[in-house]
Amino acid sequence: MANRIVSVNPHVYAPDTTTTIMRDVIIALCPAVIASVLFFGARALLVECVCVAVAVLCEWGFEKLTHRPNTIGDLSAVVTGLLLALNLPVTIPLWQAAFGALVAIVMVKQLFGGIGLNFANPAITARIVMLVAFGANMTHWVPAAFSDATSSATPLAVIAGINGINAGANTAADLPSLLQMFLGARGGSMGETSCLALLIGGIYLLCRKVISWHTPVAFIGTVVVLTAILGQQPLYQMMAGGLFLGAIFMATDYTTSPPTPAGKLIFGVGCGLLTVCIRVWGNYPEGVSFSILLMNILNPYISNWTRTKPFGGVTA
């Protein structure tokens, strides 16, 4: 008689697995990848390939060295490498990009136990490490194709220039139009400029139920409302910098954000608040990465505060 399998219920499963979720994120990032090549040339693709390859290699190598099960099949290293690349300027030296991928996978992810156990978003943290280590290369911007702006500076840097930190360096005439901002014809990291491409990816993730609307809407909404109150141009602030990339793809990272809708809302609002503070009062023109990293650190607390209330539960 055949050996029969006896196991605990359930005996059927939803089709989604970690791999399909990561695959969906990669699919959702495709429009942004295409936009990066369109606006910044073929080198964008080269940087993306280097980051992905190094990320996957590091994951494989580290797990080999530490005798842990190989997890490159779950595609999470691909996502990390790709997200990191999209957060870099197209001119970044390749060895620096590779270093960033190594930091993301080994230092931020694997040293904390691998997928699901890292406290901070690997791509974001690696980007910040690179910003500190290679400041000049990380803020060296080139003009995007199809942009008629004379300056290659990012719109946020231009605004910061007008508003006084580097007063006189730029004028409002250097700012791209709102349409250019939306399509992505502006200076910036290669994956962050096209709001349209990121939005398409975000809608795909929402439809596939990979992310929920709470974090991105709270994050972007807070930035819009606060900048409006502070007398900035809210639409401009919304589309500038890495807000769309951060709000849709980085702040929604499962491992480093709260699981419940209430927690996600608090997390998003916190990210938005910090972003505006850094943009308006900080030394850096952009604050999305820092705000997400800071909120990553608060995540365990937010997750604890926003625990669900059991149905019919009675507190003794």
Partner: protein
């Protein structure tokens, strides 16, 4: 305490057999009737090897208040009383009966005489019926309450488990019995509402029940979204009445009685004909089954006979009592059809394979799918630490093991299994806590007495 909508999951319905009117399977040569089919005390055999029995004849009497009598589903001869390892891993007594194939009805069958609520409850008890939705709770115990406490009678026609259509068939083929049962309940309990809850993926049942219930006072059909586990008792109560059954309480504490539609039909049949619960309509389906269908079999029919009758495509690798979300996998095809078996599902190699768990990615799907708003990922962590205090806070005791968390987990973590194990850890913790408390009390008492004496 407002909870909004309860969560759930959308497994594929797979109601392949909804259109199949149940057919009667040829009488099996041997039936094996276990004594522990209900929650509570096992029944006590009243027959001995060699005794002649007939269909509907008592073979075991209720073994206590929380128990139910058992009647023979075939006519024939008692072969032996045997030990048998149930699917719950416990040994149980079974009565093995060899059928003579004649299905002679027991001459002692007579309609019960019902004059009041007490005699009604007695009749339900005598009928041997238990919760046929799968729970196996003795129905007479559920109905043995002060009639004035009952405000809502909820008939469970949700049948939210994939594949199973036996309740669907009861509603289609026996709607009048369900209505008769509802009218009996209305007669002996002072309920304000009688609601039958049906998932909206069964429009035929909804139409038929609305038609059958026309003119019955206070009777209503609640069309519920097809969201598993819609038929969970607490879920159904909340979605039809808005009442929340608190921790440690019963539905009657919020004025509700929930009764499965097939259970009700069995009661109505017994009261009209005197024939107790001896046979079941079961759905036989799954990827290893050649011709999925609904069949009528005596309680005690071996699963092997059932599968032989419907035909197999291949040797089944996993066989379930019940649906794929909460069904129990059986190790042996000698296991019999129980009173509360509503389906036998047999799966091929591909569908039977257990997935390999990977690391939790903290996606939160288990939290957002749990109908009772529990946090399975956090429970798993607390369980790994054997942290009873944390498990108490996380209310793992409320878990009904519906399977939504495991179903939706992209890392395929065995969350239901962990919840089951975590309940044991919590029970141990509570017991230790109680013991420590009692010790403390005894100490204080001793001190006090010593103080008085000194």
């Amino acid at each position: 305490m407002f909870h909004g909508k309860l969560h759930g999951v959308h497994p594929r319905h797979m109601k392949n057999t909804a259109g199949n009117k149940p057919i009667r399977m040829p009488v099996p040569p041997v039936i094996t009737v276990p004594m522990s089919m209900n929650i509570g005390a096992p029944a006590k055999p009243v027959v001995k090897p060699g005794d002649e029995v007939k269909v509907g004849q008592l073979i075991a009497e209720a073994g206590g208040f929380m128990s139910a009598p058992i009647y023979s589903g075939v006519s024939g001869k008692v072969k032996k009383l045997d030990d048998y390892l149930g699917s719950n891993g416990r040994f149980d007594t079974v009565i093995v009966i060899e059928s003579d194939g004649l299905q002679t009805e027991y001459e002692g069958i007579q309609k019960p005489v019902i004059t009041d609520q007490k005699s009604f409850v007695d009749a339900v008890r005598a009928c041997g019926v238990i919760g046929l939705g799968g729970a196996g709770f003795p129905t007479s115990v559920k109905l043995n309450v002060d009639p004035d406490r009952v405000h809502n009678i909820i008939i469970n026609g949700a049948e939210c488990e994939p594949y199973i259509t036996s309740d669907t068939r009861t509603m289609i083929d026996n709607a009048s019995r369900i209505i008769e049962g509802a009218q009996l309940l209305q007669k002996y309990y002072t309920a304000d509402r009688i609601i039958i809850g049906i998932e909206d993926n069964k429009p035929e049942c909804i139409t038929i029940m609305k038609e059958a219930g026309r003119g019955v006072p206070n009777f209503e059909v609640a069309e519920l979204p097809a969201l598993y586990p819609q038929g969970g008792e607490k879920v159904l109560i909340y979605n039809t009445t808005g009442e929340i059954v608190p921790e440690g309480k019963l539905p009657i504490d919020v004025g509700c009685i929930v009764i499965n539609c097939t259970t009700l039909a069995v009661i109505a049949k017994y009261i009209e004909t005197g024939m107790p619960l001896v046979e079941k309509v079961i759905t036989v389906d799954g990827s290893a089954v050649a011709n999925p269908q609904n069949i009528i079999v005596p309680v005690g029919t071996p699963i092997q006979d059932v599968l032989d009758f419907v035909g197999l495509k291949c040797e089944p690798r996993k066989v379930l009592y019940g649906g794929p979300m909460m069904g129990i996998s059986v190790p042996s095809l000698d296991s019999p059809i129980l009173k509360n078996t509503n389906a036998i599902l047999a799966f091929d190699e591909k569908d039977a394979a257990d997935p390999t768990p990977t690391a939790c990615i903290r996606c939160g799907r288990c939290v957002n799918h749990c109908p009772f708003h529990l946090m399975p990922a956090a429970i798993e962590q607390a369980y790994n630490e054997r942290n009873g205090a944390a498990l108490k806070k996380l209310k793992v005791n409320l878990c009904m093991e519906c399977g939504c968390c495991s179903y939706g987990c992209p890392a395929r973590r065995p969350l239901v299994q962990v919840n089951k194990l975590a309940k044991a850890v919590l029970n141990k913790y509570n017991a230790e806590l109680k013991e420590a408390e009692e010790k403390q009390k005894a100490k204080e008492q001793a001190k006090k007495e010593a103080g008085v004496n000194g």
